[in-house]
Protein backbone atom coordinates (compact mmCIF):
# COMPACT_ATOMS: atom_id res chain seq x y z
CA UNK A 1 0.00 0.00 0.00
CA UNK A 2 1.28 3.43 -0.96
CA UNK A 3 2.20 5.80 1.87
CA UNK A 4 0.12 8.91 2.45
CA UNK A 5 0.92 11.82 0.15
CA UNK A 6 -1.39 14.41 1.73
CA UNK A 7 -0.37 18.02 2.23
CA UNK A 8 0.81 17.40 5.76
CA UNK A 9 2.94 14.39 4.92
CA UNK A 10 6.38 15.12 6.35
CA UNK A 11 8.23 13.47 3.45
CA UNK A 12 6.42 15.68 0.96
CA UNK A 13 7.21 19.16 2.21
CA UNK A 14 10.53 19.53 0.39
CA UNK A 15 8.85 18.86 -2.96
CA UNK A 16 6.06 21.29 -2.02
CA UNK A 17 8.59 23.96 -1.05
CA UNK A 18 10.37 23.47 -4.37
CA UNK A 19 7.07 23.78 -6.24
CA UNK A 20 6.10 26.97 -4.40
CA UNK A 21 9.56 28.46 -4.92
CA UNK A 22 9.41 27.80 -8.67
CA UNK A 23 5.84 29.14 -8.83
CA UNK A 24 6.86 32.35 -7.03
CA UNK A 25 9.94 32.71 -9.22
CA UNK A 26 7.90 32.24 -12.40
CA UNK A 27 5.22 34.70 -11.21
CA UNK A 28 7.88 37.20 -10.19
CA UNK A 29 9.67 36.99 -13.53
CA UNK A 30 6.33 37.56 -15.19
CA UNK A 31 5.22 40.61 -13.17
CA UNK A 32 8.56 41.74 -11.64
CA UNK A 33 6.73 43.50 -8.76
CA UNK A 34 9.18 42.58 -5.97
CA UNK A 35 12.26 42.93 -8.21
CA UNK A 36 11.13 46.39 -9.32
CA UNK A 37 10.21 47.63 -5.84
CA UNK A 38 13.39 46.28 -4.21
CA UNK A 39 15.62 47.28 -7.11
CA UNK A 40 14.12 50.76 -7.47
CA UNK A 41 14.42 51.42 -3.76
CA UNK A 42 17.97 50.06 -3.56
CA UNK A 43 19.30 51.98 -6.53
CA UNK A 44 17.54 55.28 -5.78
CA UNK A 45 18.84 55.22 -2.20
CA UNK A 46 22.27 54.21 -3.50
CA UNK A 47 22.27 57.27 -5.74
CA UNK A 48 21.15 59.49 -2.84
CA UNK A 49 23.89 58.09 -0.59
CA UNK A 50 26.48 58.67 -3.33
CA UNK A 51 25.40 62.29 -3.79
CA UNK A 52 24.97 63.06 -0.10
CA UNK A 53 28.32 61.63 0.95
CA UNK A 54 30.45 62.98 -1.90
CA UNK A 55 32.08 65.55 0.38
CA UNK A 56 32.27 63.25 3.38
CA UNK A 57 34.37 60.64 1.58
CA UNK A 58 37.30 63.05 1.31
CA UNK A 59 37.21 64.34 4.91
CA UNK A 60 40.10 63.23 7.08
CA UNK A 61 40.19 63.55 10.86
CA UNK A 62 43.22 63.93 13.06
CA UNK A 63 43.50 61.62 16.08
CA UNK A 64 45.18 64.03 18.51
CA UNK A 65 46.14 61.28 20.93
CA UNK A 66 48.26 59.56 18.25
CA UNK A 67 50.47 62.62 17.91
CA UNK A 68 53.85 62.50 19.70
CA UNK A 69 54.24 64.94 22.57
CA UNK A 70 57.61 66.47 21.59
CA UNK A 71 58.39 67.61 18.04
CA UNK A 72 55.67 67.08 15.48
CA UNK A 73 56.86 66.31 11.95
CA UNK A 74 54.52 66.35 8.94
CA UNK A 75 54.88 62.55 8.72
CA UNK A 76 53.62 62.20 12.32
CA UNK A 77 50.55 64.26 11.48
CA UNK A 78 49.87 62.15 8.38
CA UNK A 79 50.20 58.95 10.43
CA UNK A 80 47.64 60.24 12.95
CA UNK A 81 45.04 60.97 10.27
CA UNK A 82 42.18 58.66 9.40
CA UNK A 83 39.03 58.91 7.26
CA UNK A 84 36.16 60.63 9.09
CA UNK A 85 33.69 58.14 7.59
CA UNK A 86 34.88 54.80 8.94
CA UNK A 87 34.47 51.45 7.15
CA UNK A 88 32.21 50.13 9.94
CA UNK A 89 29.79 53.05 9.57
CA UNK A 90 29.81 52.55 5.78
CA UNK A 91 28.80 48.93 6.41
CA UNK A 92 26.04 50.15 8.75
CA UNK A 93 24.64 52.41 6.03
CA UNK A 94 24.79 49.59 3.45
CA UNK A 95 22.69 47.38 5.71
CA UNK A 96 20.24 50.17 6.49
CA UNK A 97 19.79 50.47 2.74
CA UNK A 98 19.40 46.70 2.28
CA UNK A 99 16.98 46.48 5.23
CA UNK A 100 14.64 49.10 3.80
CA UNK A 101 14.94 47.60 0.33
CA UNK A 102 14.06 44.17 1.72
CA UNK A 103 11.15 45.53 3.72
CA UNK A 104 9.87 47.35 0.65
CA UNK A 105 9.75 44.21 -1.45
CA UNK A 106 9.68 41.08 0.67
CA UNK A 107 6.29 41.80 2.27
CA UNK A 108 4.91 41.09 -1.17
CA UNK A 109 5.47 37.30 -0.88
CA UNK A 110 2.52 36.63 1.45
CA UNK A 111 0.48 39.75 0.76
CA UNK A 112 0.24 38.73 -2.89
CA UNK A 113 -1.34 35.38 -1.93
CA UNK A 114 -3.90 37.17 0.26
CA UNK A 115 -4.72 39.73 -2.43
CA UNK A 116 -5.00 37.16 -5.22
CA UNK A 117 -7.18 34.96 -3.01
CA UNK A 118 -4.91 31.95 -3.47
CA UNK A 119 -4.27 31.45 0.24
CA UNK A 120 -7.05 28.90 0.67
CA UNK A 121 -5.86 26.85 -2.27
CA UNK A 122 -2.31 26.98 -0.93
CA UNK A 123 -3.53 26.01 2.54
CA UNK A 124 -5.41 23.00 1.19
CA UNK A 125 -2.72 21.72 -1.12
CA UNK A 126 0.44 22.33 0.91
CA UNK A 127 1.70 21.75 4.41
CA UNK A 128 2.74 24.82 6.50
CA UNK A 129 6.35 23.57 6.48
CA UNK A 130 6.32 23.47 2.67
CA UNK A 131 4.84 26.97 2.39
CA UNK A 132 7.31 28.44 4.88
CA UNK A 133 10.34 26.82 3.24
CA UNK A 134 9.22 27.84 -0.24
CA UNK A 135 8.59 31.46 0.73
CA UNK A 136 11.84 31.64 2.72
CA UNK A 137 13.81 30.25 -0.24
CA UNK A 138 12.24 32.80 -2.58
CA UNK A 139 12.89 35.73 -0.24
CA UNK A 140 16.48 34.64 0.37
CA UNK A 141 17.10 34.28 -3.38
CA UNK A 142 15.73 37.78 -3.99
CA UNK A 143 17.78 39.24 -1.14
CA UNK A 144 20.99 37.50 -2.24
CA UNK A 145 20.47 38.85 -5.76
CA UNK A 146 19.91 42.41 -4.50
CA UNK A 147 22.91 42.23 -2.14
CA UNK A 148 25.06 40.82 -4.93
CA UNK A 149 24.13 43.70 -7.23
CA UNK A 150 24.06 46.56 -4.72
CA UNK A 151 27.18 45.78 -2.64
CA UNK A 152 29.80 46.13 -5.42
CA UNK A 153 28.19 49.42 -6.54
CA UNK A 154 28.10 50.66 -2.95
CA UNK A 155 31.72 49.66 -2.39
CA UNK A 156 32.75 51.50 -5.54
CA UNK A 157 30.77 54.63 -4.67
CA UNK A 158 31.76 54.93 -1.03
CA UNK A 159 35.21 53.33 -1.14
CA UNK A 160 34.22 50.74 1.47
CA UNK A 161 36.94 48.13 1.88
CA UNK A 162 36.15 44.45 2.33
CA UNK A 163 38.87 43.92 4.96
CA UNK A 164 39.27 40.20 5.53
CA UNK A 165 37.47 38.70 2.49
CA UNK A 166 36.30 35.35 4.02
CA UNK A 167 34.95 37.16 7.11
CA UNK A 168 33.35 39.86 4.94
CA UNK A 169 31.60 37.29 2.73
CA UNK A 170 30.45 35.27 5.76
CA UNK A 171 29.09 38.46 7.33
CA UNK A 172 27.19 39.38 4.15
CA UNK A 173 25.80 35.85 3.83
CA UNK A 174 24.78 35.68 7.49
CA UNK A 175 23.26 39.16 7.21
CA UNK A 176 21.16 38.12 4.20
CA UNK A 177 19.95 34.97 6.03
CA UNK A 178 19.06 36.98 9.16
CA UNK A 179 17.26 39.69 7.19
CA UNK A 180 15.49 37.24 4.87
CA UNK A 181 14.23 35.07 7.72
CA UNK A 182 13.03 38.15 9.63
CA UNK A 183 11.23 39.50 6.57
CA UNK A 184 9.56 36.13 5.83
CA UNK A 185 7.93 35.57 9.23
CA UNK A 186 7.01 39.24 9.62
CA UNK A 187 5.45 39.22 6.12
CA UNK A 188 3.36 36.19 7.12
CA UNK A 189 2.13 38.01 10.25
CA UNK A 190 1.43 41.25 8.37
CA UNK A 191 -0.46 39.40 5.59
CA UNK A 192 -2.84 37.95 8.21
CA UNK A 193 -3.67 41.53 9.20
CA UNK A 194 -4.78 42.22 5.61
CA UNK A 195 -1.32 43.18 4.44
CA UNK A 196 -0.61 46.63 5.76
CA UNK A 197 2.83 47.87 4.74
CA UNK A 198 3.08 50.09 7.81
CA UNK A 199 2.29 47.11 10.03
CA UNK A 200 5.07 45.16 8.34
CA UNK A 201 7.61 47.74 9.48
CA UNK A 202 6.14 48.05 12.95
CA UNK A 203 6.17 44.30 13.65
CA UNK A 204 9.60 43.89 12.13
CA UNK A 205 11.26 46.71 14.07
CA UNK A 206 11.98 44.82 17.36
CA UNK A 207 13.51 41.88 15.49
CA UNK A 208 15.38 44.10 13.06
CA UNK A 209 16.87 46.14 15.93
CA UNK A 210 18.48 43.04 17.46
CA UNK A 211 19.64 41.94 14.01
CA UNK A 212 21.20 45.34 13.23
CA UNK A 213 22.97 45.49 16.60
CA UNK A 214 24.52 42.06 15.99
CA UNK A 215 25.44 43.07 12.45
CA UNK A 216 27.12 46.32 13.51
CA UNK A 217 29.06 44.48 16.23
CA UNK A 218 30.32 42.08 13.57
CA UNK A 219 31.17 44.99 11.23
CA UNK A 220 33.13 46.75 13.99
CA UNK A 221 35.07 43.55 14.66
CA UNK A 222 35.74 43.06 10.93
CA UNK A 223 37.32 46.50 10.59
CA UNK A 224 39.00 46.76 14.01
CA UNK A 225 42.80 46.82 13.92
CA UNK A 226 43.46 44.71 16.99
CA UNK A 227 47.07 43.79 17.81
CA UNK A 228 46.06 40.71 19.82
CA UNK A 229 45.40 38.12 17.09
CA UNK A 230 43.95 35.46 19.42
CA UNK A 231 41.51 37.87 21.06
CA UNK A 232 40.52 39.22 17.63
CA UNK A 233 39.78 35.68 16.37
CA UNK A 234 37.58 34.93 19.40
CA UNK A 235 35.75 38.24 18.93
CA UNK A 236 35.24 37.48 15.21
CA UNK A 237 33.82 34.02 16.03
CA UNK A 238 31.58 35.54 18.71
CA UNK A 239 30.20 38.37 16.57
CA UNK A 240 29.95 36.72 13.13
CA UNK A 241 28.86 33.44 14.76
CA UNK A 242 26.24 35.40 16.71
CA UNK A 243 24.86 36.77 13.45
CA UNK A 244 24.71 33.28 11.90
CA UNK A 245 23.08 31.82 15.03
CA UNK A 246 20.50 34.64 14.99
CA UNK A 247 19.47 33.56 11.48
CA UNK A 248 19.34 29.89 12.52
CA UNK A 249 17.35 30.80 15.65
CA UNK A 250 14.82 32.81 13.70
CA UNK A 251 14.39 30.14 11.00
CA UNK A 252 14.00 27.37 13.63
CA UNK A 253 11.47 29.31 15.73
CA UNK A 254 9.58 30.38 12.60
CA UNK A 255 9.47 26.77 11.32
CA UNK A 256 7.84 25.68 14.61
CA UNK A 257 5.43 28.60 14.94
CA UNK A 258 4.53 29.17 11.28
CA UNK A 259 1.78 26.53 11.50
CA UNK A 260 -0.14 28.74 13.98
CA UNK A 261 0.29 31.88 11.87
CA UNK A 262 -0.72 30.05 8.69
CA UNK A 263 -3.69 28.05 9.93
CA UNK A 264 -5.32 30.59 12.24
Amino acid sequence: MKASTGPNDASNWMAQARCLFLKDLRAELRTRVAINSVGLFAFSSLLLVALATRGLREVMTLRMLDLPIDIIRPADVTAAMFPAWSAASKMGLLWTLLCFAAFAGLAHSFVHEEEAGTVTALRLSMSPAGVYTGKLAFNLTLLFAVALLVTPFYMGLTGMQAGNWPVFLTLMLAGCIGLGSTATIVAALAAKARGSGALFGAIGLPIITVFLMLLLNAANTLYSDSTDAAAHTIKTVQDVGGLISFGILLISVSAFTFRFVWEE
Binding site: L65, M213, N217, D239, G241, G242, F246, I248, L249, S252
Partner: protein
Protein backbone atom coordinates in the same frame (compact mmCIF):
# COMPACT_ATOMS: atom_id res chain seq x y z
CA UNK B 1 7.69 13.51 15.21
CA UNK B 2 9.11 13.50 18.71
CA UNK B 3 12.60 13.19 17.27
CA UNK B 4 12.02 16.27 15.05
CA UNK B 5 10.81 18.27 18.07
CA UNK B 6 13.84 17.17 20.08
CA UNK B 7 16.27 18.20 17.31
CA UNK B 8 14.39 21.48 16.82
CA UNK B 9 14.50 22.25 20.53
CA UNK B 10 18.23 21.46 20.61
CA UNK B 11 18.96 23.72 17.61
CA UNK B 12 16.88 26.56 19.10
CA UNK B 13 18.62 26.24 22.48
CA UNK B 14 22.10 26.25 20.96
CA UNK B 15 21.32 29.14 18.59
CA UNK B 16 19.68 31.14 21.41
CA UNK B 17 22.69 30.59 23.68
CA UNK B 18 25.16 31.63 21.00
CA UNK B 19 23.08 34.69 20.04
CA UNK B 20 22.82 35.82 23.66
CA UNK B 21 26.57 35.34 24.09
CA UNK B 22 27.21 37.47 20.99
CA UNK B 23 24.63 40.05 22.07
CA UNK B 24 26.18 40.35 25.54
CA UNK B 25 29.35 41.78 23.95
CA UNK B 26 27.38 44.87 22.94
CA UNK B 27 26.17 45.48 26.48
CA UNK B 28 28.27 47.11 29.19
CA UNK B 29 26.59 47.01 32.59
CA UNK B 30 26.87 49.69 35.30
CA UNK B 31 29.10 48.35 38.07
CA UNK B 32 30.98 49.38 41.19
CA UNK B 33 34.76 49.14 41.64
CA UNK B 34 34.61 45.67 43.22
CA UNK B 35 32.63 44.22 40.30
CA UNK B 36 34.76 46.07 37.70
CA UNK B 37 37.81 44.34 39.17
CA UNK B 38 36.24 40.92 38.57
CA UNK B 39 34.91 41.69 35.07
CA UNK B 40 37.00 40.84 32.03
CA UNK B 41 35.03 42.78 29.41
CA UNK B 42 33.98 46.41 29.04
CA UNK B 43 31.90 47.80 31.92
CA UNK B 44 30.62 51.19 33.00
CA UNK B 45 31.99 52.37 36.30
CA UNK B 46 29.65 54.86 37.93
CA UNK B 47 30.50 57.13 40.83
CA UNK B 48 31.07 60.61 42.23
CA UNK B 49 34.10 62.60 41.13
CA UNK B 50 36.61 63.01 43.97
CA UNK B 51 37.69 66.65 44.11
CA UNK B 52 40.26 67.04 46.87
CA UNK B 53 43.98 67.92 47.03
CA UNK B 54 45.05 64.31 47.57
CA UNK B 55 43.30 63.12 44.40
CA UNK B 56 43.68 65.91 41.85
CA UNK B 57 42.26 65.61 38.34
CA UNK B 58 45.02 66.36 35.83
CA UNK B 59 46.24 65.87 32.27
CA UNK B 60 49.08 63.34 32.23
CA UNK B 61 51.44 64.23 29.36
CA UNK B 62 53.43 61.00 29.65
CA UNK B 63 50.42 58.80 28.86
CA UNK B 64 48.43 61.46 26.93
CA UNK B 65 45.44 60.85 29.16
CA UNK B 66 43.20 62.67 31.58
CA UNK B 67 43.48 61.22 35.11
CA UNK B 68 41.01 61.66 37.95
CA UNK B 69 39.47 59.71 40.83
CA UNK B 70 35.93 58.55 41.41
CA UNK B 71 34.18 57.10 44.45
CA UNK B 72 31.53 54.39 43.96
CA UNK B 73 28.42 53.72 46.08
CA UNK B 74 30.49 51.61 48.51
CA UNK B 75 32.83 54.61 49.09
CA UNK B 76 35.66 52.79 47.33
CA UNK B 77 37.98 55.15 45.44
CA UNK B 78 39.51 54.28 42.05
CA UNK B 79 41.70 56.17 39.60
CA UNK B 80 40.30 56.58 36.08
CA UNK B 81 42.65 57.06 33.12
CA UNK B 82 40.60 58.54 30.29
CA UNK B 83 42.12 58.58 26.81
CA UNK B 84 40.55 61.76 25.59
CA UNK B 85 40.19 65.46 26.29
CA UNK B 86 38.70 66.69 29.57
CA UNK B 87 34.91 67.01 29.13
CA UNK B 88 33.51 70.58 29.23
CA UNK B 89 31.10 69.87 32.08
CA UNK B 90 33.68 68.01 34.18
CA UNK B 91 34.41 70.82 36.67
CA UNK B 92 30.74 71.47 37.36
CA UNK B 93 29.71 67.81 37.44
CA UNK B 94 29.21 65.77 40.60
CA UNK B 95 29.19 62.29 39.14
CA UNK B 96 29.94 60.40 35.95
CA UNK B 97 30.15 56.97 34.42
CA UNK B 98 33.29 55.78 32.67
CA UNK B 99 33.22 52.99 30.10
CA UNK B 100 36.27 50.71 30.03
CA UNK B 101 37.99 48.02 32.05
CA UNK B 102 40.18 47.64 35.12
CA UNK B 103 43.90 47.29 34.33
CA UNK B 104 47.31 47.49 35.98
CA UNK B 105 50.38 49.42 34.85
CA UNK B 106 53.99 48.16 34.82
CA UNK B 107 54.43 48.97 38.51
CA UNK B 108 51.31 46.96 39.40
CA UNK B 109 49.21 50.02 40.20
CA UNK B 110 45.53 49.42 39.50
CA UNK B 111 43.46 51.90 37.47
CA UNK B 112 40.30 52.01 35.36
CA UNK B 113 41.25 52.39 31.69
CA UNK B 114 38.50 54.30 29.93
CA UNK B 115 37.83 55.48 26.39
CA UNK B 116 34.40 57.00 26.94
CA UNK B 117 32.88 59.22 29.65
CA UNK B 118 29.30 60.22 30.38
CA UNK B 119 29.35 63.22 32.68
CA UNK B 120 26.29 63.80 34.82
CA UNK B 121 25.07 67.33 34.18
CA UNK B 122 24.54 69.41 37.30
CA UNK B 123 20.85 70.18 37.68
CA UNK B 124 19.79 73.78 38.17
CA UNK B 125 16.86 72.53 40.23
CA UNK B 126 19.05 70.80 42.84
CA UNK B 127 18.91 73.69 45.31
CA UNK B 128 15.11 73.62 45.27
CA UNK B 129 14.82 69.94 46.15
CA UNK B 130 12.50 69.35 49.06
CA UNK B 131 13.05 66.59 51.56
CA UNK B 132 9.46 65.33 51.82
CA UNK B 133 10.32 62.86 54.59
CA UNK B 134 11.28 65.75 56.81
CA UNK B 135 8.48 67.76 58.40
CA UNK B 136 8.56 71.49 57.79
CA UNK B 137 10.10 73.33 60.69
CA UNK B 138 7.45 75.98 60.71
CA UNK B 139 6.93 79.44 59.31
CA UNK B 140 3.94 81.49 58.50
CA UNK B 141 2.22 82.37 55.29
Amino acid sequence: MKKAYFIGFLVISLALGFTLWAFSSSMSPFVDVKTARKSSGTVQLRGLIVKDEVHPAHWDTSSSAFRFWIMDKNNEICEVVYHGAKPDAFDAAKGLSASGSMTRDASGKEFFNSDSLSVQCPSKYDSYKVDYAKKPSGGQI
